[in-house]
């Protein structure tokens, strides 16, 4: 019996890629094992998580779509059988190309100005690791609407992504766990979502004594490993965070408790703020001013002779404030440093006040603040790569639903300010960014640090000026128009309010381009009929899409409405080289960076096709081959140009390379570019070895040294730029009589204040003619490591092991609350919201607040094989699409006021 072990990567979640080998016996894939050959390079010893062990079953799943199919029933609906007819790949691509060529003949934009072609790639950052060169095809095409969401953007760590990248190049934020001693986690569920590296790092830290306190409404997988669980009310996290700030700044002597030199030199805390709420600036240069305590006068913040800028106090000073649209206001009156404003801002937010809102005892809040300060080790240093850094081993982490939707901005702000107060921002032991998505270059955060205005980092923003604002949305979710922080990067479409295209179809807003449906919608690895809020509404909309081409692994609830199913070669069937290592995503801190290969491990068991070959063929059939090859040569989709110093591997006009030829050149270019031209490995080498690495110094994890060397400051605590942006955006919208975004404009606050965030959701009942009191429970979701991101709900082996993790295949609720409702373990129950119902079996737990019910992930399938028999409820069936539940970044959150009853 011939046995091979084929190296591939797994990127079924954004916490990878991880490295594995597939065991192949006599041409049959029979198993998965860690790639221990690369144990020294991989931070978790080459291991892979439970999902990767499902890949063999995914390969041979008899329920998968085995050949391209076209719909023969023109009527679309849940109860309309699509009547699929198998067709050849040639016919299938011909059908799609015909539709695409019709668009090119008609015009790429429709009458409303929206792209006629839309493409939705699911699962956030995962799709590119499986997409082959499809991005190069899209680049060659021209305008494409990639903002018709499936829930993955607006439900993710949306505020953390946008504000985190704005403040410290932290599209995602992680604690420097190996050097951290104390974590306050507000719902961060990294032991379910942090990948094998996150789990490994947390386990190592717990074993050495890291203290982890978990504040969340139900006891999650991560909470299980915590030293303490604090059952906080949903969406009240900001109240506790404000109270923590209050204790540190009001109840303690902040001069002793805080890292004053860090605040003075590395933040905007000393910047003087005028009566209009804008920085006091030098009238000539426009430079923000500080108060020099030694010379007792105002000086520009960057005056090298100012070594002791004031953080508190007040005084008369002269200068100008520059507000929205450049409005200048001369000032000669009493001003105070931003830090003094912060102190006054948090003064009302006592622990007793927070206790009443969050149901967290005041003494607990005071104790947690004390623990945070005690662990911060002000003045301590640590050596990294021979350089001395501040060592501040404390972190505040935020989880999903805390970092998105109303209150997301406020929580992210408070968390980052808490770090700044003790100097635990971008230093060993503190909170760090892991990846950048809006700035460039994307491969190393430190290289993305460039000087911007007022001593801060440069940050690309969508303009809000009178002459620069994009008044007309260029895609249906309007991120360039409505969300300045979303920027205009290749990732931005997924970071905008991606549910608006669905919402606006039924509820068109005033003074806005007419909502339209794209002529052709291509979908990949996405299932909005399950994963978007208000699933019934999504289904109604799907009936109206004139042509949907779905890359399809199995039939599912969205491709039920498709016109064409294209079974792409999946994880173990196709070729792709992907970047790996460095600090990218979640808790991926590697000491190497490089490239890993995904490759076919055996002959495909179905008539599938590699997405790279699909992209090349579509380019040829639509007359876009030249542009497609040019995009490949630039590195679009592969992230490595085929031409670089000392090498030219570019494709020439008229080439029609197959997937192997494409990835062979990418392999060679990637190794050349990474090794400074010294090493060139081809596809054959990668097939044998799996991955190629070069060293990545741990000092590159921390922004601190780069910021200090560039004499840059973090734009904290005072959000002057956001205040100005909000003012300008409001002016632009109002100039066009658009007032339906006014509530969102209120998010742009220099110092965010508490609002009744839970009430925003509670009030959704009254709007629909129901009483708030009818819905005494909160329905929440929680992460399942077994299922998240993996597109694996049709695999019974995952269910076979997931059944051992409580919460799968039912609804978790508090045992005492259930008793009062007459609900026993296993009883069928119904959950009703103002807009719908969902059903499941009761799972009684002690680790759930009495006012909370929890379902895992997003199930509720009715078409996907196997998953449709799991009888799982789905929050999305009872959550409503609602502009009132949409924050300024365009995100919402997975929480719904509900009532619960036994069936």
């Amino acid at each position: 019996m011939a046995t091979e072990r084929v190296p591939v990567y797994c990127y079924q979640c954004v916490a990878g890629p991880d490295l594995l080998k597939v065991v192949v016996k006599d041409g049959v894939a029979v198993g998965v094992e860690p790639n221990t050959d690369l144990a020294h390079e991989h931070p978790a010893g080459g291991t892979v998580c439970v999902r990767a062990y499902g890949l063999v079953q995914k390969l041979y799943n008899p329920a998968r779509v085995r050949t391209p199919m076209r719909r023969t029933n023109p009527r679309k609906g849940r109860h309309q059988d699509p009547a699929w007819q198998p067709i050849s790949w040639d016919a299938a691509l011909g059908l799609l190309a015909e539709r695409l060529n019709a668009i090119r003949a008609t015009g790429l934009l429709d009458a409303a100005g929206y792209p006629r072609l839309a493409v939705t790639l699911g699962a956030g950052g995962i799709a590119p690791a499986y997409l082959g060169t499809f991005a190069a095809f899209l680049s060659a095409w021209g305008p494409v609407d990639q903002g018709i969401g499936s829930g993955q953007g607006v439900k993710c760590y949306h505020s953390e992504h946008l504000y985190g990248e704005f403040w410290h190049r932290a599209f995602t934020v992680a604690a420097d766990i190996p050097r951290c001693d104390f974590v306050l986690s507000f719902g961060y569920n990294g032991d379910a979502s942090g990948g094998v590296t996150g789990v490994f790092r947390h386990a190592e830290a717990r074993a050495r004594g890291l203290r982890w306190v978990q504040l969340e409404p139900h006891l999650s997988v991560t909470g299980a490993g915590a030293a303490e669980w604090v059952p906080i009310r949903p969406k009240t996290d900001f109240a506790v965070l404000l109270a923590l700030l209050h204790v540190i700044l009001i109840e303690r002597d902040w001069r002793q408790a805080c890292d004053v030199p860090f605040l003075e030199r590395m933040t905007s805390a000393p910047y003087l703020v005028g009566p209009g709420g804008y920085f006091l600036r030098d009238p000539t240069s426009g430079t923000p001013m500080v108060w020099d305590r030694d010379r007792q006068r105002t000086v520009p913040f960057d005056d090298p002779r100012c070594v002791r800028p004031a953080l508190d106090g007040a005084g008369i000073a002269a200068g100008v404030e520059i507000g929205g649209d450049g409005a200048r206001r001369s000032v000669s009156e009493r001003v105070r440093p931003a830090f003094a404003h912060l102190i006054d801002h948090v003064r009302p937010y006592t622990p007793e006040w927070a206790a009443g809102i969050a149901d967290v005892p005041a003494e607990t809040i005071r104790r947690l603040a004390r623990d945070y300060l005690d662990h911060a080790r002000l003045g301590a240093t640590i050596e990294i790569d021979g350089v001395s850094y501040p060592h501040r081993p404390v972190a505040v982490l935020l989880g999903k639903t805390v970092t998105n939707g109303w209150g997301g901005y406020e929580c992210c702000w408070a968390r980052t300010v808490l770090a700044a107060l003790v100097g635990a921002l971008e230093v060993p032991g503190g909170i760090l960014g892991t990846t950048v998505r809006l700035n460039r270059p994307a491969q190393n955060r430190l290289d993305s640090v460039r000087p911007g205005p007022d001593g801060f980092m440069e940050q690309p923003l969508n303009p809000t000026g009178r002459d620069t604002w994009h008044a007309t949305p260029h895609i249906r979710n309007a991120y360039r128009t409505l969300v300045p922080l979303a920027d205009h990067s290749p990732w931005s479409a997924a970071l905008g309010p991606a549910h608006l295209p669905w919402l606006f179809r039924e509820d068109p807003p005033e003074h806005w381009p007419a909502p339209t449906t794209p002529d052709v919608w291509i979908i990949y690895r996405t299932n909005p009929a399950i994963s978007n809020w208000e699933t019934g509404r999504i289904e109604r909309e799907l009936e109206r899409f004139p042509f949907i081409a779905a890359f399809a692994y199995t039939p599912d609830e969205t491709n039920w409405y498709a016109d064409l199913l294209l079974p792409e070669a999946t994880d173990l069937e196709s070729l792709q080289l992907y970047r790996i290592g460095g600090t990218k995503y979640i808790e991926q801190y590697w000491e190497v960076t490089g490239w890993a290969l995904r490759q076919p491990v055996t002959a495909p068991p179905a008539d599938t096709r590699d997405l790279t070959d699909v992209a090349t063929e579509l380019a040829r059939r639509t007359g876009l081959l030249e542009g497609y090859l040019a995009a490949l040569n630039r590195g679009v989709g592969t992230t490595v140009p085929l031409v670089g110093p000392g090498y030219d591997l570019a494709f020439g006009p008229g080439d029609t390379p197959d997937a192997a030829e494409v990835w062979d050149r990418v392999c060679r270019a990637a190794t050349r570019s990474l090794s400074g031209g010294e090493v060139e490995h081809d596809l054959g080498w990668f097939k044998a070895h799996g991955a190629f690495f070069v060293p990545f110094a741990p000092s590159q994890y921390f922004l601190h040294a780069t910021m200090a060397a560039s004499r840059l400051r973090y734009e904290l605590p005072y959000q002057e730029r956001l205040k100005r942006i909000g003012e300008e955006l409001g002016a632009r919208l109002h100039e066009r009589s658009i007032t339906w975004w006014d509530a969102q404009l209120e998010e742009y606050q220099a110092l965010p204040a508490w609002k009744d965030f839970p009430g925003i959701w509670r009030r959704s009942a009254a709007v629909r003619g129901r009483r708030v009191e009818e819905f005494p429970f909160w329905l929440l979701t929680s992460r399942s490591m077994q299922y998240s991101w993996g597109a694996n709900v049709s695999l019974p082996i995952l269910a076979d092991v997931a059944r051992h993790v409580q919460g799968h295949f039912g609804v978790m609720l508090n045992r005492g609350a259930a008793r009062r409702l007459g609900i026993a373990d296993g009883d069928p129950i119904e959950i009703e919201s103002p807009t719908g119902t969902t059903r499941g079996r009761a799972i009684l737990r002690e680790g759930v607040r009495p006012d909370v019910v929890v379902v895992l992930q997003q199930f509720g399938h009715w078409a996907t094989p196997f998953a449709r028999d799991l009888d799982m409820p789905n929050l999305n069936q009872v959550a409503c699409l609602d502009l009132a539940l949409t924050d300024a970044t365009g995100s919402g959150a997975d929480l719904v006021p509900v009532q619960v009853r036994r069936l």
């Binding site: 094992e33 439970v50 041979y60 386990a203 669980w229 059952p231 737990r845 680790g847």
Partner: protein, 207 residues
């Protein structure tokens, strides 16, 4: 074997790796991680507890076997000679850890076996009792190649190799200098239900 409960996150990677290594049919697991709670709201802890055959030094499953199929090796591994087992289940009743499982005429997950299921079919296990073997074939083969169980992945049970939290340590309990022996002493690891008098070979680090 020593399992560090402070590290375990209940992910079931060990569960699925074991299922794959031993080609276990649907709904059969030789090991899994129990997800339990201790206390009442709000003073409650969630506990993950990996469960498997404890390979007891005094295994109650062995003497009750009417055919002698249930056996213990010199190195302590408790195993089943499938050819001698009649599937009566006495051993399952005797085991206080519920670690023994009858495999019937096992179908695959999909009715018709997949190519992988067909290639790894183990018909000799149909109709007999089964359980965790401490991956004895893997351990033996590795040892024969000069590898050290517990140190070399190819000679170590797959649950320990697959664990993403490094919660599972395998080694020689008879060697006081082995990693597992030192862990038991230094971390005061304890066996499960010691009061049963079975002298389990699986220890847990609790605090």
């Amino acid at each position: 074997m020593v399992i560090d409960l402070r590290r375990c996150v209940g992910c079931q990677t060990c569960t699925i790796a074991c299922k794959q290594e031993h080609a276990l049919p649907a709904a059969t697991v030789w090991r899994f991680v129990a997800d339990g709670e201790v206390g009442e709201y709000p003073d409650v802890r969630r506990v993950f507890l990996p469960m498997q055959c404890m390979h007891c030094a005094e295994p109650p499953c062995v003497p009750v076997c009417p055919t002698g199929a249930s056996r213990q090796r010199g190195d302590g591994i408790v195993w089943i000679e499938y050819g001698a087992c009649i599937g009566c289940g006495y051993c399952a009743v005797a085991c206080p850890y519920h670690a023994r499982h009858l495999i019937g005429e096992a179908a695959g997950y999909f009715g018709v076996p997949t190519p992988a299921e067909a290639a790894t079919a183990r018909p000799e296990r149909h109709g007999v009792m089964t359980k965790c073997t401490f991956c004895k074939e893997r351990v033996d083969e590795g040892r024969a190649r000069g590898l050290v169980p517990g140190q070399d992945p190819a000679a170590t049970p797959v649950c320990a190799v697959a664990c993403i939290a490094r919660a599972i340590t395998f080694g020689d309990l008879d060697d006081p200098e082995s990693g597992v022996s030192r862990l038991i002493v230094e971390r005061e690891a304890v066996p499960l239900m010691a009061e049963c008098g079975t002298s389990p070979a699986v220890y847990y680090i609790v605090g």
